[in-house]
Amino acid sequence: MQMALNDQEIDRIIGALLRFGVVLSAAVVAAGGIWYLVQFGTRAPGYHVFRGEPEYLRHLGGLVTGVRGFNCLGIIQLGLVLLIATPVARVAFTVVAFALARDRTYVAITLFVLAVLLFSLTGLVSG
């Protein structure tokens, strides 16, 4: 089997990708969180009853609007979505690695997993 990238290189890239995703999202969440506490710290929390999040915090499109408007909850949610996207990016990278190795079976398998993840994230299967 001819590998365009060797295993150590792939592992190194994946490790760096995961670290970058976690650190970046934690920083965004922390920044939004501090702002949130400054703004709403003295309010009464309302988590006893489930009401569901407002529409703009549920979809990627809405999040963009929230972040543009410098909404602190929107910024935290952006950080959380970055965190959720980290393993998705890893799977996407694995597709490329298998494709470079000309491993068709595993390109197909990995693409299927990637498709399931993207369907879930884009809300096509939220029902």
Binding site: I14, L18, A26, A44, H59, G74, L80, R90, T105, V125
Partner: protein, 278 residues
């Protein structure tokens, strides 16, 4: 209690859970949901959403450290991800249709299983295994760096492991957990993959499985940024501290203590579910 106090409290609990989770290998997310529901009166769906996102954080954080050691098997992981991600979406979909009382009982049962698993060791030497032709065809057999040099291993019972992974994924989506304990059973006990390969591959799979559930949770409005923020940052900080302290930690004692805590939470969850307090 105002938002600031609640955030601080949830952050401290999550820090402790992440710390103990890293030391015991049970993962921190699994205890956060019952603690928030039982002690702080948080709605089950919000608690599940917050814990689920924290599971992704610890999985990615730990995988970044493990990946260089060459233990995890990407082929096995990817193949089984087909089962766990589709299972996760089915579970996450079902979570909205099932009553919180029933969810609490299932949660309790899963906690009991995880606690039981954590106190038991694993088979050090595996008996002769039947060759699975499917494993050969899919080139799942691999090599891992053992203490005495690279050692090769074969994978058996691919179909049974795959089915069990669907269940693990469904529970992950249903309860907002990583279901690492069940994943390790499927790989270690059923597919007869070496323990170290099972745990690291499972860890990598947990993040991908949880991401599949998290998409549905996000669209459903289960992920509240204000509540999830201290959980994610707390668990992440706790697991980093735990990983640092791990070489000097009395893991055997800790594992037993943590198992008792998890059992107590499990019983309380089941009781709350049956009496309809949730």
């Amino acid at each position: 209690m105002n938002v600031f106090e609640l955030t601080t409290l949830v952050g401290v609990i999550s820090l402790a859970a992440g710390f103990l989770g890293a030391l015991t290998g049970l993962g921190g997310g699994v205890v956060i949901t019952p603690v928030m529901v039982l002690a702080l009166g948080v709605d089950l769906h919000y608690a599940m959403g917050a814990a689920l996102v924290s599971v992704i954080a610890t999985s990615s954080g730990a995988a970044a450290a493990y990946v260089r050691e060459g233990f995890s098997n990407i082929r096995i992981g990817m193949l089984l991800e087909i089962a766990t991600t589709t299972g996760a979406i089915c579970g996450a979909y079902a979570a909205a249709k099932i009553s919180p009382s029933f969810l609490a009982v299932v949660f309790g049962a899963v906690l009991l299983q995880a606690a039981w698993m954590s106190t038991r060791g694993h088979a050090a030497t595996l008996p002769n295994q039947p060759d699975d032709p499917l494993a050969n065809r899919l080139r799942l057999n691999g090599i891992f760096p053992a203490t005495d040099g690279p050692r090769s291993y074969k994978v058996s019972h691919v179909k049974a492991g795959f089915s069990l992974m669907f269940v693990a994924g469904a529970l992950s989506g249903l309860l907002g957990i990583g279901s690492g304990a069940l994943k390790v059973i499927a790989m270690d006990r059923v597919m007869r993959i070496p323990f170290k390969v099972s745990t690291t591959t499972s860890n990598f799979m947990i993040g991908v499985t949880a991401a599949a559930s998290a998409g549905v949770y996000l669209n459903r409005g289960y992920i509240d940024p204000g509540l999830t923020m201290p959980v994610v940052l707390g668990v992440l900080g706790g697991s980093v501290l735990g990983a640092h302290w791990l070489p000097r930690a009395p893991t055997k004692v800790l594992r037993r203590v943590f198992a008792v805590v998890v059992c107590a939470l499990a019983v309380e969850m089941i009781y709350s579910g049956i009496t309809g307090r949730l």
